[in-house]
């Protein structure tokens, strides 16, 4: 197995799909010859030609509208939105079109072959418009699947599954980890299941839940807690919608304590949905209130990014508060 970074894992997954399926098409702003501003589509145009990997004009609603039509036609449409912060011009195409295509037509038509890839998240000095985590907006839309990988191995397996899944998927890529996260990734084709969370560390005292880049922050907090003698069970949610209630509820039933952490602002974030559901599912097993450790309710800052972020120390404090409640 080769050691590769998260970008290379994504590029690898795209390469596998483009090679096996001549109706797979990758496109977006700067995606063609340049290979994307992060180089996720590097080399694909050279390998598969301009008609299957290309630049689009600067128009996100056009990119996703085009992708919807292409997927409805039966092609495998893999669209890139350069930053998740710039997905909002395409909000109508995603929320009113992609998500409702199958339902509104009574399954006469669908865009199951659509995958939208987009880098998200902070910690890169990107300020307001290169740092957001907008997963909760899309989690509020039945018909979409929302997937977030935490490392290169997960990224390749989840992206292959997302592209082949017969539903429209938004695949949020943690751009802070694009080059920072390196790990062993099999060269062959493999898929990881959508809608399934993964227990990444077993523990007995408290359950910690996160997704994407936030998982390693939670792991750091768990290491601090371990030195205080607290045994943390860590779960990576992996798929935000539809999410794996069972795995999370089973863990919280066992530990009786629960901290959920996300990069996005607290209010109406997906952590809130999880907290409400787990409170209902595990009420009699809970030893303490569920804690949410999230970004603050401000736009994403620049100079004060460290202060804003749901870092390992804030999570560590929430673990201790929950343990001693």
């Amino acid at each position: 197995m080769a050691q590769i970074n998260l970008l290379q894992a994504i590029n690898d997954a795209l390469d596998i799909v483009m090679a096996e399926n001549d109706r797979a098409v990758c496109f977006g702003e700067d995606v063609g010859h340049f290979g994307g501003v992060f180089r996720a589509t590097s080399g694909l145009q050279e390998k598969y030609g301009k008609s299957r990997c290309f630049n689009t004009p600067l128009v996100e609603q056009g990119v996703i509208g085009f992708a919807n039509g292409l997927a409805a036609q039966g092609s495998t449409a893999i669209a890139e939105i350069q930053f998740a912060d710039y997905i909002f011009p395409a909000f109508d195409q995603i929320v009113n079109e992609s998500a409702k295509f199958r339902y509104r037509s009574g399954n006469e038509f669908d865009v199951g072959k659509l995958t939208i890839r987009t880098p998200y998240g902070g910690g890169i000095a990107g300020g307001l418009y290169h740092s957001q985590s907008p997963e909760a907006y899309f989690a509020h839309t039945p018909g979409l699947k929302v997937v977030v990988p935490r490392n290169p191995y997960q990224a390749k397996g989840l992206l292959l599954a997302s592209i082949r899944d017969d539903n429209p998927v938004i695949f949020f890529e943690p751009k802070r980890l694009y080059r920072a996260s390196v790990g062993e990734v099999p060269e062959e084709d493999y898929e990881l299941p959508l809608g399934k969370a993964e227990v990444v560390q077993k523990g007995s005292d408290i359950t910690l839940l996160a997704w994407g880049a936030q998982v390693e922050i939670v792991e750091k907090a768990a290491a601090l807690a371990a030195s205080d003698g607290i045994s943390c069970e860590i779960i990576d949610l992996r798929t935000i919608l539809p999410w794996d209630i069972e795995t999370v509820a089973n863990s919280v039933t066992k530990t009786g304590r629960f901290v959920v952490s996300q990069e996005a602002p607290l209010t109406a974030g997906f952590a809130s949905e999880i907290a409400a559901t787990i409170q209902q599912a595990c009420f009699l097993h809970l030893e303490a209130p569920i804690a949410r450790v999230c970004g603050m309710d401000t736009p994403y800052p620049l100079a004060l990014e460290k202060e804003y972020a749901a870092d390992h120390l804030k999570i560590f404090e929430a673990i201790k508060t929950t343990m001693t409640y």
Binding site: F54, V59, F66, G69, L70, G74, E97, R104, E108
Partner: protein, 394 residues
């Protein structure tokens, strides 16, 4: 890099603006209202069989619209939209295409679906949201769709089909199919961002789309002079570097000729075309609207003189392909059939409650399934509150 504009433009040394009206855009007319053909007009490829099918579709359209407005007024259906006065745009469009071409309509193009052979029963089942509706009773009346007939299911948000048509046609071309996509919208929807996105995407990526603008003068109550001030919608096609044509939308032969030309160009060159069809929405926007609040009877009367169906009838009579006895018999038969179909469709059950949760995804996710199980228990508890579903829960 596109440097030719810099190096190859005509050079001037005095500042002066140009405007959209400096590009002269002619309007294609082939058929006169009296049924005669303009001198030197290039006829579309149309024989007696195609002409008869086209005319019968126009007649069906007119009758269905009349009857369904009446049905809405009687409270039998919730909503309806006619295409009164502009039926030639949709029927002529379909008549100029092949069956394998995709039709992505806005919502006032039921004529194209009629031409493709969507049955009267299918129209009725959709409008009555019953269990035989292909759309499973999920959308308001007139949101038709049929995979078999290559007619994309209607979506209420305006203009969303425009960039989708670019993608759909790109896929057709990539696969090497003998097929194009026609995309309908109004001059109002052409103000939406999706219009500009879609035309530019299609032009840049060379997708064989026929963008068909029905410029019918009104977007609900807003007249076109409050919608745009440029040289119609056609001037925008020129701006996007697209072959463009303006036609008389009430002239069925002009519609067919333009669409046939656009189709041949799309197949040969693999590029999009913009057609701007000038017409007038003689009916209300929908049954929820009353045009007397925003326009005059005189204005409407003037456009009634341009009735596209009467114009085609006059031509058919002149060709000797149609007569008054056939006319009377056809309209009587259609009215009877529509009335009978209403009576059948309104008695068919609503969709089963399971249709509430299917097709959100390819498979029902666990959380949605548990919500559905709770719903079934709830309905069993209060059966009188849910009379359509209470007796049918499995």
């Amino acid at each position: 890099m596109n440097t030719d504009v810099y190096s190859e433009s005509k050079v001037v040394h005095q500042p002066a603006f140009i405007d959209g009206h400096s590009v002269e855009i002619p309007i294609l007319k082939i058929l006169k209202q009296d049924g005669s053909i303009y001198e030197n007009a290039a006829m579309p490829n149309i024989d007696q069989a195609l002409a008869t099918k086209t005319y019968k579709t126009l007649a069906f359209h007119r009758v269905l619209d009349e009857r369904m407005v009446a049905a809405q007024r009687q409270g039998r259906i919730s909503f309806y939209m006619t295409a009164l006065g502009e039926e030639a745009a949709s029927v002529g469009g379909a008549a100029g295409l092949k069956d394998q071409d995709m039709i992505m309509a806005q919502y006032r193009e039921q004529g194209a679906l009629m031409f493709r052979g969507f049955s009267l029963e299918n129209f009725m089942n959709q409008m009555f949201s019953n269990e035989k509706d292909l759309g499973k009773g999920r959308q308001m009346p007139i949101h038709y769709g049929s995979r078999e007939l290559n007619y994309m299911t209607i979506s209420s948000p305006l203009g969303t089909q425009i960039p989708q048509a670019a993608g759909y046609a790109y896929g057709q071309k990539l696969q090497g199919l003998d097929a194009v996509t026609i995309c309908y919208f109004g001059e109002g929807a052409a103000s939406e961002g999706d219009f500009h996105a879609g035309l530019n995407m299609a032009a840049v990526h060379q997708a064989p789309v026929i963008f068909f603008c029905r410029n019918n003068g009104y977007a609900i109550s807003t007249p076109s002079e409050e919608q745009y001030v440029g040289n119609g919608i056609a001037s925008r096609g020129v701006g996007y570097g697209m072959k463009t044509i303006r036609i008389d939308g009430n002239d069925i032969l002009a519609v067919i000729a333009a669409v046939q030309l656009a189709r041949a160009y799309g197949i040969k060159e693999g590029k999009p075309v913009l057609i701007e069809a000038m017409s007038y929405r003689l009916g209300a926007h929908s049954t929820s609207d009353d045009p007397s609040g925003y326009r005059t009877r005189e204005e409407e009367a003037k456009w009634q003189e341009h009735d596209p169906i009467l114009r085609m009838k006059n031509w058919m009579l002149a060709q000797g392909w149609w007569d008054e006895a056939q006319e009377t018999a056809l309209f009587e038969k259609l009215r009877d059939e529509v009335l009978a179909a209403v009576k059948v469709a309104e008695k068919i059950d609503k969709p089963p409650v399971e249709d509430l949760i299917t097709d959100v995804y390819d498979q029902v996710p666990p959380l949605l399934q548990s919500q559905f199980d709770e719903l079934k228990e709830h309905i069993k508890k209060y059966p009188k509150a849910y009379p359509f579903s209470a007796g049918r829960i499995k």
